[in-house]
Symmetry: C2
Subunit: 121 residues, 2 copies
Amino acid sequence: MGTIMSDVQTPLSRENFLQSVKYDAAGLVPAVAQDVTTGAVLMLAWMNEHSLRQTITTGNVTYWSRSRQQLWRKGETSGHTQRLVEAYVDCDGDTLLLKVEQTGPACHTGAPACFFRMLRE
Amino acid sequence: MGTIMSDVQTPLSRENFLQSVKYDAAGLVPAVAQDVTTGAVLMLAWMNEHSLRQTITTGNVTYWSRSRQQLWRKGETSGHTQRLVEAYVDCDGDTLLLKVEQTGPACHTGAPACFFRMLRE
């Protein structure tokens, strides 16, 4: 089964972090938001480089809305904001993980998280 | 801030679950794998309908490798398999969340999870 490395994080400076991200053909990267307190996976949304820079600079998680084709500061209308606590980029640079402080429900349906529909065999 | 709904899951039958999934133009949907024991977000990979059906049928998490353009049963060469415990589809059907029992490290680098590069300001 191989050896499990100790759970060491590799720290990256802001510029190294930004340069590590590989965007898809549309200039986007998926970002998984996880509640830093509960560990719940809240949602997945998309970022372009501008929204990622804005998220890091302001601490207010800001996505790119693919449906509206515009920057989308999470909670800008609902008040259900996400405060960035930790940001990770995966091994091959094509996914982000954001640990956040979530205010209110993360899902537009009012559910705490977007993953409330479960397979039940 | 609105009201937070109680954390109730909506159960879906296998066919309803499969029909809820919306694939992108390439026929793929992102799947987030979360360690059911620790809550750690392990990785994000992609599934097509065939790999999702195979995952549900066998309990062995099986992705679609975009680089190799073939089915990829996680751990088929490394032994670092993922056993499906719970599967969720998000509110708009375009992301999956898989709670898994991970054998060995999830990342091909040997790290426990793919998200080991962290922004450090």
